[in-house]
């Protein structure tokens, strides 16, 4: 879809809207999936489309399409819709117009790797998987994709960004007498095929773990001291706290604003939480968000106190704060909404050994299946768990589900280790936009009185 800058600029003219923006996108993706011993799917998709968003008197109109023709008509429809909605004043935080072209950041470009080589690698992983006795079935799902996004707005921004993303999910299922257990890993990268290579030992470990879980006892339900590994603590940070710092939940909700008032204490002095696409080198690192706003690095909690939050232009404008470059859209079908990027707890000074030393009875929870939040309450699932007794990690337990209330749980983090690790395998969902590439991370953390669901 070769559409010139002039054509877009012309399409914007003369509509009497307070603001108009357009995104045009071209994409291609490859997907290879093994289920069980056999290849299940190998397929390629190409395509893309575009969208127009218009603002009139505070009301939004949004039009998305797969056929990028008659752009002027699409703009007209979006403005008409916005006009039906708008009844107040439009307010967007001011930003400077940006004209820029951002090439893809690639280390080992997945598009340069022949399909035959990708399949060969996955074949090897599948052989390792099935070389493990006791495996009932498995999933190995690989996908990579390229998106070339052109952003233009009525304030004169014109930005071309090309993004390469890839992901690998390996999951092993073991079964015995109707009992089923599983173990898995998710890996992702912004443009480096290298991260999915050389995982033979990791795949073996996953397969063996699934089999081992069959003979593991269940954890008791109740309140325990729980130590989370960096992966699970990262998910916790994203789910339990991160979503609450997304300002679209706050900006028109006076009571939520009171709860999330800057300066409020959420945890101890050792607790520091950060989000930012300007933190380089991670899955959700980018130069501009989907409103053409430059990315930033935001301190959310500093020494236990709430100091910042994530914004789109609208939420920043209405709250009188600065935009943070966190307005993201899954693709051209969706409007940008406030999302996290790379979110993490900053490392402390203790070692893992220090954390565990005085735990008499507790649970060491590692890895993850997923997590969900409804602001105040959250639930997240560990991939595996171990009993802790008298300062030592003991036997493997069945996976546990951890759940709690954000406000008490953050207060109950009483120790943070010094071993920060980032997990690149995350796909976040919000407002029907899933999976959006995110990364999250943490050092090992210790939570007192954490609710564990078990039987």
């Amino acid at each position: 879809m070769e559409i010139s800058k002039d054509e877009i600029t012309r399409a914007f003219k003369g509509h009497r809207a307070d603001f108009i923006e357009m995104r045009l996108e071209e994409s291609e993706s490859t997907r290879i999936v093994y289920r069980g011993k056999e290849l299940e799917e190998i397929g390629r998709s190409t395509g893309g489309g575009g969208c127009v968003r218009a603002l009139v008197k505070g009301g939004w109109g949004f039009v998305s399409f797969t056929t990028p023709e008659n752009l002027r008509d699409k703009v007209k429809l979006a403005v008409q819709q916005a006009r039906l909605v708008g009844k107040e004043a439009s307010l967007l935080a001011p930003v400077e117009p940006v004209v820029d072209t951002e090439p893809p950041v690639v280390k080992k470009d997945p598009r340069a790797v022949p399909l035959a080589d990708k399949k060969q690698l996955l074949d090897e992983y599948n052989e390792v998987m099935w070389g493990t006795p006791g495996i009932q079935t498995s999933t190995i799902a690989y996908s990579d994709g390229l998106r070339k996004i052109t952003y233009a707005s009525s304030i004169g921004s014109y930005i071309e960004q090309t993004k390469v993303d890839l992901s690998l999910r390996v999951n092993a299922v073991a079964k015995n007498d109707g009992e089923v257990q599983q173990s898995g890993v998710s890996i992702g990268s912004r443009g480096d095929f290298g991260v999915v290579e050389g995982l033979h030992d990791k795949v073996k470990e996953i397969a063996e773990k699934a089999v081992l879980l069959l003979s593991a006892p269940r954890a008791k339900g109740g309140e325990f001291t729980v130590i989370l590994d960096p992966i699970l603590a990262g998910v916790f940070t994203h789910e339990a706290f991160g979503h609450l710092s997304e300002s679209d939940f706050l900006y028109e909700n006076p009571r939520m604003k009171e709860i999330m008032v800057l300066g409020r204490r959420f945890g101890g002095k050792h607790l520091n939480i950060v989000d930012g696409a300007a933190v380089p080198g991670f899955r959700a690192s980018y130069k501009y968000d989907d409103e053409g706003v430059p990315s930033t690095r935001s301190d959310l909690i500093k020494e236990g106190v709430l100091v910042g939050r994530l914004h789109s232009r609208e939420t920043a404008g209405k709250m009188g704060e600065k935009p943070t470059g966190n307005a993201r859209a899954l693709d051209y079908r969706f409007e940008p909404i406030v999302r996290m990027t790379n979110t993490f707890i900053e490392p402390g000074t203790m070692t893992f050994k220090d954390l565990i030393a005085d735990v008499k009875e507790g649970i060491y929870a590692r890895n993850w299946y997923g997590g969900m939040t409804s602001m105040e309450m959250f639930t997240f699932s560990a991939g595996e768990a171990y009993a802790i007794r008298n300062g030592r990690v003991q036997e493997l337990l069945r996976p546990v589900v951890l759940s709690g209330n954000l406000f008490t749980t953050l207060e109950n983090i009483d120790a943070i280790a010094n071993d920060l690790e980032m997990n690149q395998g995350g796909g976040c969902g919000k407002g029907g936009q899933i999976p959006l590439p995110v990364s999250n991370g943490s050092p090992h953390i210790r939570i007192r009185k954490c609710l564990v669901g078990g039987r």
Partner: protein, 437 residues
């Protein structure tokens, strides 16, 4: 598209072109008022070929790129999965109505009015509630052509109402909500509004959770989130072929309480999930999955049916992937004999669950369900006495649905894809923090 099929036929033993167009118009409400109007238009074309016995597929959203589809499908077929099926001939399709011309005629203005009136009704009684909502109309066209002569197309209309309310007191947050869908315009907002008001009314008091092994009542919406997912996963032909389903070898055996029957029925007219044929052109049918506690069938698409030496149950869905996979379309759980009202009235001390957070996260294949009780209430002496917080439930369908199952006598729609009565279960573990129980 005929041209694309012809081109594909020249280089393959079998070829199938599947394409959809869709136009969706949502009116979206935030902070008690209309916030955004949208129009979403999309086209999607998928090509699947069987070449030298192997499957190759490709897809695009761009009608000007159809030429590259054949080339890409050929490339994929070099590495492709061996096909275990032949494409079907044109079958005899049941009559399933899924298009109401009235839906296309409803105006944006009327949709906006419906949405605002839902919000206004709730706020008239609960002015402190902050509402979000949506009114959406959609029209889609689904088409399929194959080299064996399948040539079919249907038009579908959809209409959806949803309403969510948030109530915050201090750091205490309450989320309530309900939704309704149909192929026809829904002009009666009362059921959705009444449901939301009921949820707010019962939540006026917060109380402690019931004891650990109390009975748990799942509303029809909670049945969808907690039970249907693990049940459906185990009955999926894919789980059978892979050997992961705990129900392998159990066909014809009684696994669940004899009160439990479950079937998939895409032939019910005017439900947005219904259809006369599946995404491979196989006629839709009513497929019993569990009959009086006995495992009756797994459900299949063509490929998994071929692998399992069974017949496709017309359960192929594409979900935006050029390769279909087996999925249920419209699941129905058979009604029981306990009046819906009596289900709560009969509970001495227990938990009423509307929604779970993280229900799909545990060992679903193993039958586990559970999660944080996002919206739940305590029942005492047959009465709802208040909302329960900071509570988790955990259960396993192979234990909880084995016996002493109580099913309501009137099934309710949960979205477009499930019709189920509320249920009462024993054997679920309730864990909670907070005041002594």
């Amino acid at each position: 598209m005929e041209e694309l099929l012809e081109k594909a036929k020249k280089i393959a033993e079998g070829a199938e072109v599947f394409w959809t167009t869709r136009r969706e118009t949502p009116a979206h409400f935030e902070a008690n008022r209309l916030k955004m109007l949208q129009t979403r238009e999309s086209t999607w074309v998928a090509l699947r070929i069987i070449r030298n016995g192997r499957i190759g597929s490709s897809s695009t959203t761009r009608l000007d790129r159809l030429d590259s589809l054949v080339e890409q499908a050929v490339e994929m077929s070099e590495f492709g999965v061996p096909a275990t099926f032949e494409l079907p001939k044109h079958g005899s399709f049941p009559k399933v109505e899924v298009y109401d011309p009235q839906t296309e005629k409803i105006t944006i203005r009327e949709m906006v009015h419906l949405g605002q009136s839902m919000i206004d009704q709730v706020r008239a009684k609960y002015p402190e509630v902050l509402c979000e909502g949506g009114v959406t109309r959609s029209i889609s066209q689904v088409n399929i052509l194959n080299s064996k002569g399948v040539s079919a197309s249907y038009k579908k209309s959809g209409f959806a109402l949803d309403l969510d309310g948030t109530l915050i007191r201090g750091t205490d947050m309450l989320f309530v909500g309900d939704y309704d869908v149909s192929c026809s315009p829904i002009r009666d907002t009362k059921p959705v509004v009444d449901q939301v008001m009921q949820e707010l009314e019962w939540a006026k008091e917060t109380v402690s959770a019931p004891p650990e092994s109390s009975p748990v009542v799942l509303t029809s919406r909670a049945v969808a989130g907690a039970l249907v997912f693990p049940l459906t996963l185990a009955l999926n032909g894919e789980s059978l072929v892979q050997g992961s389903s705990p129900l392998i070898g159990k066909l014809g055996q009684k696994v669940f309480d004899e009160k439990l029957s479950l079937w998939d029925d895409p032939t019910i007219s005017f439900r947005p999930s219904s259809r006369a044929y599946d995404d491979e052109g196989i006629p839709s049918q009513k497929t019993p999955l569990i009959e009086k506690g006995v495992i009756a069938n797994f459900f299949f698409d063509l490929q998994t049916a071929g692998q399992a030496k069974a017949r496709s149950t017309g359960s192929a869905s594409r979900f935006g992937s050029p390769n279909p996979s087996p999925a249920t379309t419209l699941e129905v759980i058979g009604e029981g004999d306990t009046p819906n009202d009596s289900i709560i009235a009969n509970v001495e001390d227990g938990l009423l669950v509307f929604g779970l957070l993280g229900a799909g996260q545990g060992n679903i294949m193993g039958g586990d369900f559970g999660g944080n009780v996002l919206l739940g209430y305590r029942i005492k002496q047959g009465q709802v006495i208040g909302r329960v917080k900071d509570t988790m439930i955990a259960g396993n369908i192979y234990e909880c649905l084995k016996s002493s199952l109580v099913l309501g006598n009137k099934a309710e729609w949960v979205g477009g894809g499930l019709l189920t009565p509320p249920v009462c279960l024993q054997g679920i573990t309730i864990s909670s923090r907070g005041p002594a129980r």
